[in-house]
Structures are given as structure tokens and as C-alpha cells.
């Protein structure tokens, strides 16, 4: 009897809700801790990064729970982007030199994220934000735009905080001694700082991972060097009205990393804020919030979506609130392991948190699950995917005006997406392969076959894919819609209309700002009623909701729960004298590490009432009815820790005489050729083959019912000796070759 299935992530526990539009808690609200702030400034020219030949500043701020007694706390480090570095205290004119000359003050860009630092510190994080002015002053002259130097600067600060955390040092003395968890660190970088934190995560890894970088967030980043980050949960934030990094090149971090490491278990997210610009995420870069250097980077006053006077543009307050909520969701999920916010990031709940001040037309999320949570139907990553999908199922379409794979190294113009798509590979290593489809009749459709080996979707939660309107081939202002069908092997069909599940198919607004961006659509499989989810044959897109249109899709997959295929269960066999042999039969994902805890329900046996063996033997106290439970913990490569429990009632009668072991055990086939199938054994029993001369010719532990025999074994008659529970069972076995 299954009694409980839960997901535990470290100390936090919450049930994942399968329902769309669930009441997800608001991650952006202030937490329970009072917050204090500190500053440290070791000087403007005190550290020379290994990749530079000049000295730079070491300066930063820290926000922390005033009550540090409950530490160590997880750590966040923020790295600002490129901005003016100094201002004239008489005229407020800003410049980009370093160090600041006489009559000038440094611009404190690192203080521009204090609003987020406050929120996170109030939830029990120590949040460090570091100054990067010196690198900004010289990086135009560096071939990598100073990215390696940024990585080294951030690492230097971590080294400094290691000192604060261990022996203490000025200016904090021992205030932070033992208060930071340096193995649970999240980093956030804005703009060039975004590429800087990606470089730092890789640099830290190259040094042997002295610090545990567990989550990386890039905010309106550049991606000049196209480094690909794997194995660390990642989120990119793309502001639609970015007038600085106007090509939204940060989407490449997400796109490039999807399939380049087939073992990558780290989730990737990308958040699109429709009315946000580049600068308002930082209060120091926001006009009116700081004495010098601030500006609205959006360049056109006539753009319908992004001009300052447009109702769809975010003001600076809204922009910060939006980022605060989604950044908090990310860090609290992957650093704090609070799984209750995952529906926001996994596109299960598309209603934005109230604290973000957004509505669901303002924000769109892309989500790429870790490897073991996906069954990729069609990655749209090669030209053959137009006819054969990733599962080797057949891809068909009828009547489409055009359907082809483009992008991701293939010709972008072939899908007529032209220059207005940030996902274009732009000379980078990977980019986004995509399926372009254009229709002008509502009978047209596109279909992916699910081969029989994959048709059982019992362990999957949703159908997910990314999609975008191709606004270059769609009537201006038209929001498109279509129907997704699941069809089982008996021909049962169930429909879900996109617009009932997502707002992601929208006509990209604006004139100079218009650009095609992919967003994830997540449809719970539970919505496809009437279809046998153990025999799903086709996933079909029927373009019957818009008379004509053009869409681009990618990353079509089924999504499992964070625990994947994980199901605790066991079997048992009764022995004499109230002894019971238990066999763990838990279904788990390959690569997971499992731990077992048994409670036999036999309280009179004292300490022996529990066991942590995989397949224990328990001698019960006497006849009776016992509720026995197996608690299995699965440590996933993705970082999730899952538990599942299986309980059953065992009735022991007095003077029970078990069936002799010899009668319980069967070996088939007999005669055998190259393998045996053995039942009635536990996976600690041992099989030995002895020939007619009494020689032991083969021995193995029966860890699986199927035993493959060595090719060297000659045909003949043997004794199969099975050692079980200290008893030997003999069976005659014939081997034919």
C-alpha cells in the first residue's frame, strides 16, 4: 500500500502540484529576518587579476540577517555590468576612467541591486555585491572584454570571504566567522557581469571547485565569447526593451547548453520581461535614483512597445519588482531548495507572483529540464528531424505551406525569420534549431509519432515545447492559436488548445523592438482525458484555430516530476521461526543514489526493528500482524532529494512451515544455452555451477534474475548450487551449445 510520496529538498519539504495555475507562494515577499548591511573597501588599486597587468579595486557590500546565530547561511554574489565609473562632484558629468581623479567620485554600481539583496537576506542569505569599475574602464581594450578578469575578481572576493568565514579579518573582524556556507553559493551578473559570472563558474570549476557555485543567473547579459555552462542550474533574464544589449544575446546561454552535454542534469530557465529595459534593474543606473550616469537606454521614442511613454513599458519600480520576484524564485529554488516556487520556473503556473506587479502578458518563461526529467520527442536539432524525430518516430505533416528546420547552424532565412530573432546563432557554436511551419488552411497539421518503446507515459507529467510566432510571416497584430492532440494506439484522441494553457503565442509587439523569442508551453498530461497514457501513439499539432499563420517550435518533450521514475516497493518471503526475507524492488532512475530505511513494525524487537540494508532479513518477535514499511531516499544528480514509501501488512501465523527453499527456486530454461532466468532467490544469493567431476566452473551473486553464462562453458550436465540464507539448494542443469 502506497502511503506517501514526497519530495524533500534538504530541510524544506513541499508537494509538487500537478495543476496548472496553482496557488504558488510568492517568492518576492520579504522574509522573516531583519537585515543589516556592511561595506568593505580595501582600495582602488589593490588586486591584480592573473589575466591583467594592472591593479583593480576590491570593494563591495554585504546584506545579511542581523541575527547571524542561525548561520551558516547560503551565499549570493552579485556582479554589476559596464557603466560609467566616476562622476564630477561639481557637474555630475560621468566618465569611464579609473581610478577617479581629483574632484571625482566613484559610481557605486554594486549598490544598485540592494533591493534584491535586502529581499534575499531577509530569507536567510548572505548577499555580497562587488564593485567592478576598474575592469569596466579598460575592458574595451581586452580581447575577451575583461571576462576572465571579472571571473578572477569574483573568485578573489570569494577567497576574501573565506577568510572572513574562517579566521576573520578587517573590517568585519570575526562577525562572519562560520556564518557563510561557501559550498552553497549563487551568483548573479548583470550585462557584462552576466558573462562574468558564467566565466567565474567555469573558472571556479577549473580550480577544482573550491567553492560550491550551485546556481548562476545572468541578467540582460552579453555573451560575446559563447561559453557554454553545464551542470549548474541557470537562469537568464531577457528584457524585451533592452536598448543596450538590444540583441538579447543572453538567450544563447540557454540555447547553446540544451543538448551539448547529454548528461547535464541542471535545469535551465529563461525569463522574458516584455516592458523592461537594460538599466532599470540597477538603481544606480536609473535616472533620478542616483546622482550621475543614469539613463533610459531604450533609444526610440516612437516604438509602440518600448518607448518611455508607452503603457507597456515598465517603470523602474515595476522593473525592479519583477526582477526581485523571479530572481528570488530562482535562488530560493536552487540555493534554498524551496521546491514550492518551481511551478513558476517550470511554466506550470503562468500567473506571475503578486509581488512582481506583472500580469501574464508581461512575462514569459522558458524551461529546459535536466536530462533525466525529459523524454525528448523532437529536439529540432538537425535537418533529419523534419521527417524522423529524436525518438526515431516518424514526423509527418499535411498541407502546410512550408515546414522546415532552420536556425542552430542551419539557414535562418529558410524559415523567414531573418535578423529579428535573438536565437539566431550569429556565428556561435550552437544556437537554436527550430521547426518552422506555415499554414493557410485550418485542416493542416504536423505530427510526431511516439515509438512503442516510449508510449507508456505513466511517469510523465506534461508535454512541453517552446514556440514563437514568426511575426515576419503573420498578419500584423494577430495572436495565433492551434490545438495539440494526443492520440493513443486505440485511436482515442484528446485535444488541448494552446490559448487555454499559455499566452506564449503572441504577435511580437513594437516596431524597432519587434523580435521573435521562444517561450515554453507546458500542458499537463492530466488534461488529455480519454487517452490511454500507457499507449500514446502520436503528438499532433492541428492548425485549426487560426485561419493562417506561421509558428516556430523547438524542444518538444515529455516532462517527469522532479523525482522522475521513482517508485518504492518490495516483496518478501516467509521463513521458519517468524523469519521474513525482504527484497527491495524499488524502481529508480539510472544514476540516482539510493538509501533504504526499513521499519518492520515489530516494536518488541527493539533496535532490530529497523534496518538500512537493501534486502534485510528480520526475525519477528512472534505470531501477529505487522505493518512493515520501506522508506527509500533517492539522491538525484540534479540535486533533488526524493523519498518514497511503501508499506504493507505482514501476517505471521504460529508454527508456520515455509515451503522448502528448493521448491521456491526455479531455473529456466533447462536445458540452457547462454543464460538462465532464476526466480525465488534474493539478490544476495549465490549461484555456483559444478561439473560432474566436482569442479566449480562458475559462480556469481544472483543480483538480477537473469544470469548470463560465460561463453567458455562447455555443453554438458552440471549441478546448479544456490546458496540462500545459509542453505544450499541443488538443481541439475543441462547446458547445450
Amino acid at each position: 500500500m502506497k502511503t506517501l510520496k514526497i519530495i524533500i529538498a534538504l530541510l524544506f519539504l513541499c508537494c509538487i502540484n500537478n495543476n496548472s495555475f496553482a496557488q504558488t507562494p510568492d517568492p518576492g515577499l520579504p522574509g522573516i529576518y531583519a537585515v543589516s548591511k556592511g561595506e568593505y573597501n580595501l582600495g582602488d588599486l589593490v588586486y591584480m587579476p592573473p589575466s591583467l597587468s594592472s591593479y583593480i579595486e576590491v570593494r563591495g557590500s554585504v546584506h545579511y540577517p542581523t541575527d547571524l546565530s542561525k548561520g551558516p547561511y547560503p551565499v549570493l554574489v552579485f556582479l554589476h555590468g559596464r557603466h560609467y565609473t566616476c562622476y564630477n562632484t561639481a557637474t555630475n558629468a560621468a566618465n569611464g576612467s579609473w581610478p577617479c581623479g581629483s574632484g571625482y567620485q566613484s559610481i557605486v554600481s554594486y549598490e544598485g541591486y540592494d533591493y534584491l539583496a535586502n529581499t534575499m537576506a531577509s530569507h536567510g542569505y548572505i548577499v555580497i555585491s562587488i564593485s567592478c569599475n576598474a575592469i569596466n574602464a579598460i575592458d574595451a581594450g581586452l580581447s575577451d572584454f575583461g571576462m576572465q578578469a571579472r571571473a578572477e575578481l569574483l573568485q578573489h572576493h570569494l577567497d576574501l570571504w573565506k577568510t572572513f568565514n574562517t579566521v576573520g579579518a578587517a573590517p568585519f573582524d570575526t562577525l562572519f566567522k562560520g556564518k557563510l556556507d561557501m559550498q552553497n553559493i549563487g551568483t548573479m551578473g548583470h550585462s557584462r557581469g552576466g558573462e562574468g559570472v558564467v566565466f567565474n563558474a567555469q573558472y571556479n570549476k577549473s580550480l577544482g571547485s573550491p567553492y560550491g557555485i550551485k546556481a548562476v543567473l545572468t541578467l540582460a547579459p552579453v555573451d560575446f565569447e559563447r561559453h557554454i555552462l553545464h551542470d549548474i542550474p541557470f537562469m537568464n533574464v531577457a528584457p524585451y526593451c533592452d536598448g543596450d544589449v538590444y540583441d538579447l544575446q543572453g538567450v544563447h546561454y540557454y540555447d547553446d547548453a540544451r543538448y551539448t552535454d547529454t548528461a547535464d542534469e541542471a535545469a535551465k530557465h529563461s525569463v522574458l520581461f516584455m516592458g523592461a529595459n537594460h538599466n532599470y534593474f540597477n538603481t544606480v543606473w536609473t535616472p533620478g535614483s542616483y546622482v550621475a550616469g543614469g539613463s533610459d537606454d531604450w533609444y526610440s521614442s516612437s516604438d509602440a512597445q518600448c518607448s518611455a511613454l508607452s503603457p507597456t513599458r515598465f517603470d523602474s519600480t515595476k522593473q525592479k519588482a519583477a526582477f526581485n520576484a523571479y530572481a528570488a524564485a530562482f535562488f530560493r529554488s536552487y540555493i534554498g531548495h524551496e521546491t514550492s516556487f518551481l511551478p513558476i520556473l517550470e511554466v506550470k503556473d503562468i500567473v506571475p507572483p503578486v509581488s512582481s506587479t506583472l500580469d501574464s502578458s508581461n512575462v514569459f518563461v522558458s524551461y529546459h529540464p535536466g536530462r533525466s526529467r525529459r523524454l525528448d520527442i523532437n529536439r529540432t536539432d538537425s535537418l533529419v528531424r523534419i521527417s524522423t524525430n529524436t525518438l526515431k518516430g516518424i514526423v509527418t505533416e499535411t498541407g502546410l505551406v512550408s515546414s522546415e528546420i532552420c536556425g542552430g547552424g542551419f539557414s535562418m532565412p529558410s524559415c523567414s525569420v531573418g535578423i529579428a530573432q535573438p536565437h539566431a546563432s550569429n556565428g556561435g557554436p550552437v544556437g537554436l534549431g527550430q521547426m518552422g511551419m506555415r499554414w493557410n488552411d485550418t485542416t493542416e497539421w504536423y505530427q510526431n509519432q511516439i515509438p512503442q518503446a516510449y508510449e507508456n507515459l505513466s511517469y510523465f507529467q506534461s508535454l512541453i515545447f517552446r514556440a514563437a510566432e514568426n511575426h515576419l510571416e503573420t498578419v500584423t497584430g494577430t495572436n495565433l492559436d492551434f490545438t495539440v492532440q494526443l492520440i493513443d494506439s486505440a485511436g482515442n484522441t484528446s485535444n488541448q488548445v494552446i490559448s487555454n494553457n499559455s499566452h506564449a503565442l503572441f504577435y511580437e509587439p513594437g516596431t524597432s523592438s519587434a523580435k521573435t523569442l521562444f517561450n515554453t508551453i507546458n500542458i499537463p498530461l492530466s488534461k488529455f482525458s480519454g487517452v490511454d497514457m500507457t499507449k500514446v501513439k502520436y503528438v499532433k499539432f492541428v492548425f485549426n484555430k487560426s485561419a493562417a499563420g506561421s509558428v516556430l517550435i523547438s524542444d518538444l518533450a515529455f516532462l517527469t516530476s522532479p523525482c522522475g521514475m521513482f517508485n518504492a516497493t518490495f516483496s518478501y518471503s516467509l521463513g521458519s521461526s517468524y523469519k521474513v526475507n525482504f527484497t527491495n524492488n524499488t524502481l529508480s532512475n539510472s544514476g540516482d543514489s539510493l538509501a533504504w530505511k526499513w521499519r518492520f513494525g515489530d516494536h518488541f524487537s527493539g533496535a532490530n526493528d529497523s534496518s538500512s540494508l537493501q534486502n534485510p532479513l528480520h526475525k519477528y518477535s512472534g505470531a501477529g500482524t505487522y505493518n512493515t514499511c520501506l522508506y527509500v531516499t533517492s539522491y538525484r544528480k540534479s540535486g533533488f532529494v526524493c523519498t518514497d514509501t511503501f508499506c504493507t501488512t505482514i501476517v505471521l501465523v504460529p508454527n508456520y512451515v515455509p515451503t522448502p527453499a528448493a521448491e521456491q527456486i526455479t531455473i529456466v530454461p533447462n536445458p540452457a544455452k547462454d543464460h538462465l532466468h532464476i526466480t525465488g532467490t534474493t539478490n544476495t544469493d549465490v549461484l555456483t555451477l559444478i561439473d560432474l567431476y566436482g569442479r566449480q566452473v562458475f559462480t556469481t551473486t544472483i543480483s538480477s534474475p537473469d544470469i548470463y553464462l560465460p561463453q567458455s562453458l562447455v555443453a554438458g550436465v552440471y549441478y546448479a548450487v544456490i546458496t540462500t540464507d545459509g542453505e544450499k539448494v541443488y538443481k541439475k542443469l543441462v547446458i547445450n551449445k
Binding site: 559596464r82 540583441d247 550569429n426
Partner: protein
Amino acid sequence: MKHLILTCTLLSVFCFPTQSEAQQKPVVEIISVKRVGNTVEFGLISATPFYMGNNAYVLYIGNKRFHISEQSTSEDQKGHLKFFIPLHTFNKLKEGQAIYLSYGFVSENEAMDMEQGSKDDMNRQWSLGKFSKKLLTQ
């Protein structure tokens, strides 16, 4: 009809000055091309300071692109950009190729639109004429 046109004209002149202002694109010119050792410094000047932002200023000469640069603001509040081109690369550049300044790298597709980009009001691309080795003044 005449009144309507007049009203619109007055509105555009007096009521939306920020709009007109925002659409003015600063002129960028080549101010000097000089050799310093094994490098050629390609100096540009703008009527207003170049934006101190996060995208990269890139100098395109034909299909070659250069981004190693130095950005500064002078006391006259004009913008100054210097691009550093290795001498051997400079010597291989072909006469008559178009020179563009771009804020941000452009893809091959976009490169075809550089001329158009230099004409629109977005501060992204500027046409700087044709390349000639005679630009080298020192």
C-alpha cells in the same frame, strides 16, 4: 485641412521636443588614422560622448571586424573612440571597402543591412565612408 496640417506641425515642434531630440543621431567621423609601432590607431570622434554601455563598439572594414578599442571623453564633451588594428592586418585591407561603426556585433545577415542601419535613427550603426590606405596620416 490647412489648419490641421499647421496644428500638427506646431504640435510636433513645440509639444514633443523630447521625441525630436531622441531621434537625433550623433554624427561620427574618422578623425585620425596613425601608426603607433606595429599597430594602427583608428580614431573616431562623435559630437556627443559614446555610450558607456555593455554591448561592444565594433569597427567593420569590409568583412573584417575590430573591437579592441579605447573609449574616452574629452573636456569638450565629445566622444572619442580609438580602434587598434595590427599593422599587418591593416596592410591587407582592400581599398574602397565600406567602413562602418557598429554598437554590437552584427550577424552575416545583418551585415547586409549596415547601410540601412546607418541611416535609421537608432544609435547602432554609422557609415564612415570608404577605406583607403591613404587615410594613414602618420
